[in-house]
């Protein structure tokens, strides 16, 4: 099989540091001629970083790259393209006001004197289109094209540059299902003549459909390598998110009380105007944690944004303690005592350039406790901040320290302290421990369990199966905006959840 031949690309022992994160740690990756290799992993697993290194976009700190047996020093994408490596990022690099042909020719001008030789270029382009079945009018202006068509332009651009190693970063994220099928056909014909494709994705089904081989990354390291024919979505789901369970969770038996969060018939579109949530219904009661498992990108972000007041749904209703939530207005959620832990705490949740104190009072600064006639009660605010800092053991130089000086775990503690201080009725925790170390993770888990005991209802949206299993009273699985199934926390099987996560709607026998 493919393994016996000489690899087209060898990346050996690649390590890449960003300021305080190791994005790739001693990653070794081979790519063979004629294959589609999927790079699978959660967000932040280091897939895109690794490929950006191969594309010459980043320089690696350690390790070597060989392309077609030759050692390659790539200091820019230009070097990579010269060696036949092309990459299509999630955000396309097209000039919208120019035509398809002009976009494709940019940077490869082989004109006579000052003038572009568009005629020859056009002939070459049409030949490529013919061969790969990528039908697009070369004279169309890019802004008139759909996203799927723009992606075709990007592929043609790579073909025009005679790329034989094509990297695609989450190419289907922006596509409608029919467009995805077209793309897969194109990729298959692309590799027929010995070219190869690296397909970055976190969607299991896709990867199963398109790839010949799958490399799973987790936490910047390669955790597994499988031939697609010899693996299953279930195994892949476990490889992607699985982590050894380190903590011992002590969960009290509690009887769930009255419903505190009710979501009824919720429909929503994502930023590309494609359906993200389809008739979603769920109920969270007092004293219970409802865990929502699922690979990211299946509507979790849209759901949490609607709950947080950052996005309007297309249809449906949400009630908190039986009172309807006003959409598109975060203060409605605050007023109804919803604690909100957003997944991007550094961008949405916290004001990184303000002090810890200023972050802690964000939602309450206008309450009578902290101001009279618009004048802030500084003494009381300081006392309150100090109390929260010690109650949540936030490691900081003090309440006046700028928030961005805190570590990831302490940022999340600030977030929790602010949100939980008001004794919320509902807690929405979206990927609450993503990127945190084990100690911080355990702390967050304990806090969520304490809220459950106090009487809050908690919706835990998480990609981390261990977390979902450890904390949840009930587990639901979301796939393409729909609930695939529900299981009770104590006797749910990982196997069943894995199957649902991969979008297959069958029950396994217990």
């Amino acid at each position: 099989m493919v393994d016996t031949q000489q690899p087209m690309v060898t990346m050996s022992s690649i390590t890449k540091y960003f300021v305080d994160v190791t994005a790739n740690h001693k990653v070794t990756f081979n790519l063979y001629s004629g294959e589609i290799c999927a790079l699978l992993g959660e967000n932040g697993a280091g897939k895109t970083t690794l490929m950006n290194i191969l594309f010459g976009y980043y320089a690696c700190d350690e390790g070597e790259i060989f392309i077609k047996g030759e050692k390659a020093d790539l200091s820019s994408p230009k070097d990579a393209i010269a060696r036949g490596v092309g990459m299509i990022h999630q955000h396309f690099a097209l000039v919208h006001s120019q035509t398809v042909l002009e976009n494709i020719v940019i940077g490869t001008e082989s004109g006579k004197g000052l003038f572009l030789d568009l005629k020859t270029a056009r002939r070459k382009l049409l030949a490529l289109q013919e061969k790969f079945g990528l039908q697009i009018d070369p004279e169309a202006r890019v802004w008139t094209l759909s996203v799927g068509e723009q992606q075709k332009v990007e592929i043609l651009k790579a073909l025009y540059r005679e790329v034989n190693i094509l990297i695609m970063d989450e190419p289907t994220a922006v596509l409608a299902p029919a467009e995805t099928e077209d793309l897969f056909k194109t990729l298959k014909s692309f590799v027929e003549e010995g070219r190869s494709v690296v397909f970055i994705s976190h969607k299991l089904n896709e990867v199963m459909d398109i790839s010949d081989r799958i490399v799973v990354l987790r936490g910047g390291q390669v955790v597994a390598e499988r031939h697609t024919a010899e693996t299953s979505p279930r195994e892949l789901a476990n490889l992607m998110v699985g982590r050894e369970l380190l903590e011992d969770i002590d969960k009290k038996q509690l009887e769930p009380g009255r419903p505190v969060l009710e979501i009824q018939n919720l429909d929503a579109l994502n930023d590309k105007k494609l359906p993200a949530l389809k008739n979603l219904n769920l109920v969270v009661r007092q004293n219970e944690i409802l865990g929502m498992a699922g690979i990211s990108g299946n509507g979790q972000r849209e759901l949490s944004e609607i709950l947080f007041g950052l996005r309007d749904p297309a249809r449906g209703a949400i009630k908190i303690n039986s009172i309807p939530l006003k959409f598109g207005n975060p203060s409605s959620a605050i007023k109804l005592k919803m604690a909100r832990i957003p997944e991007d705490r550094m961008d949405t949740g916290l004001l990184m350039d303000l002090s810890v104190e200023e972050n802690l009072i964000l939602e309450d600064h206008a309450s009578a406790e902290f101001q009279t006639y618009g004048l802030m009660k500084l003494k009381r605010i300081q006392r309150y901040s100090d109390e929260l800092i010690s109650a949540y053991s936030i490691a900081t130089a003090g309440r006046d320290a700028v928030t961005k000086s805190l570590s990831g775990g302490n940022l999340q503690k600030v977030m929790l302290a602010r949100e939980l201080a008001g004794k919320p009725a509902v807690v929405i925790a979206s990927q609450p421990t993503r990127g945190l170390d084990v100690g911080a993770m355990e702390y967050i888990h304990q806090r969520l369990l304490q809220e459950r005991e106090r009487g809050a209802g908690i919706l835990l949206i998480s990609e981390d199966l261990d977390e979902v299993f450890a904390l949840s009273d009930r587990i639901i699985v979301i796939y393409e905006g729909e609930i695939m199934g529900e299981a009770a926390g104590e006797n749910a099987s990982r196997e069943q959840i894995g199957i649902w996560m991969s979008g297959v709607n069958i029950k396994v026998k217990q």
Binding site: V19, F308, G309, L310, P330, S331, I334, R340, P342, D347, T348, G349, L350, L351, M352, D353, L354, E358, L362, E363, H365, A366, F370, Q371, G374, L375, M376, L378, V402, S405
Partner: protein, 353 residues
């Protein structure tokens, strides 16, 4: 091969906030030696007369304060807006709006009891400037119109409105010049020190420094405005009504620029003319940046600017270096300050490969 990379550095200690501006001003003066020498000036003599001209005599010193007051107000106006990331490039137009309103009121308030006239004129000027700034803020928040462009272009709209009025209804009867009638005595700022132009507006400007500092540090509005400026998405997430914050910030910012216009009208010109402002609104942008958007920083940077502007007159007379050198020094000071500020957050790392 040697590569340079710009990387983030750890936050600097508090004393850096004081040392860096002083170092920046010294660096500016050193660099400014180049154009002064190129203009054929004698270096020590030029700098001596620059500072003597601004600070050396009682009259010159007071003139420096007179010049500083509009610069201080427009600087505060811009700094207050920029802090909330409302990019108000329109302080010039807002200043003119304030001067225009003060003219209309100051000429026509003859029937009002004397003690009320000046407060009405001041409030009217403040509101006119504020409303002129609120227009682009509403456009920004409701229609996502870029505030840099709209605030800038509204400057020209205001200049032409003023021109139309000065050639029309506001023109002094019997005059063929584009100038208004003089405002009544009760509408003039009192002169506070004899044999000078040291007027009440200067005290108002200094008081505003304190007011803005107080709003920024002690009020919930100042807190919200800062939060919106730092990260509007997170501020919105936290329940802050960002639209209202931006519009109120614009109102206050424009109002301060309007006060600068009132001062120029009621203490310097006493009647509206086309040249009422030599670009104080634009200088305000530079002054705000130079003062690092902090009210006390703006106070010192506006004083520095007025020293340069006033002193350059004397320097030019005594040494023959053209007074345009003042503008060169101003521009230089901003560039030096921006570079220094860059290095408070970043450092250059040399990487050998």
């Amino acid at each position: 091969m040697i590569r340079f990379r710009i990387i983030k550095r750890k936050p600097l200690p508090g004393w850096a906030k004081i040392v860096i501006p002083i170092a920046a001003i010294l660096a500016t003066l050193i660099l400014s030696a180049i154009p002064i020498l190129m203009a054929g000036g004698h270096l020590w003599k030029s700098y001596y007369y620059l500072f003597y001209g601004a600070l050396g005599t009682r009259f010159n010193l007071l003139e420096t304060f007179v010049k500083a007051s509009p610069l201080l107000l427009t600087g505060l106006a811009v700094a207050f807006a920029f802090r909330a990331k409302f990019w108000n490039i329109g302080a010039e137009g807002q200043l003119l709006a304030g001067a225009l309103a003060a003219t209309v009121l100051g000429v026509n308030l003859g029937g009002v009891p004397q003690p009320f006239v000046l407060p009405i004129v001041i409030i009217g000027g403040f509101l006119a400037g504020g409303i002129w700034a609120a227009i682009p803020a509403i456009l920004k928040t409701k229609l996502k119109v870029d505030d840099v462009v709209s605030t800038l272009l509204l400057n020209y709209v205001m200049i032409h409105i003023m021109g139309a009025l000065l050639f029309g209804p506001l023109q002094q009867p019997g005059s063929s010049w584009p100038r208004s009638a003089a405002i009544i005595k009760a509408a003039c700022y009192p002169i506070l020190l004899p044999r000078s132009r040291f007027h009440m507006g200067i005290l108002i400007a200094f008081f505003v420094v304190f007011v803005i500092w107080f709003i920024n540090q002690r009020t919930t509005f100042g807190y919200r405005s800062k939060a919106v400026g730092v990260n509007i998405r997170a501020a919105h997430f936290g329940g802050i009504n960002t639209t209202s914050v931006i519009i109120w910030t614009a109102l206050i910012s424009g109002g301060l620029a309007g006060l600068a216009g009132v001062g120029e009208l009621c203490a310097i010109q006493y009647r509206l003319i086309m040249d009422i402002s030599p670009g104080y609104g634009y200088s305000g942008i530079v002054i705000a940046m130079l003062g690092n958007l902090h009210p006390v920083g703006v106070l010192f940077s506006s004083l520095f600017f007025s020293v340069i502007i006033v002193g350059a007159q004397t320097m030019s007379r005594m040494t023959g270096v053209p007074s345009y050198i003042a503008e060169v020094i101003q521009g230089m000071s901003l560039m030096v300050m921006l570079i220094f500020l860059l290095f408070t957050e970043y450092k250059i790392k040399v990487m050998k490969k």
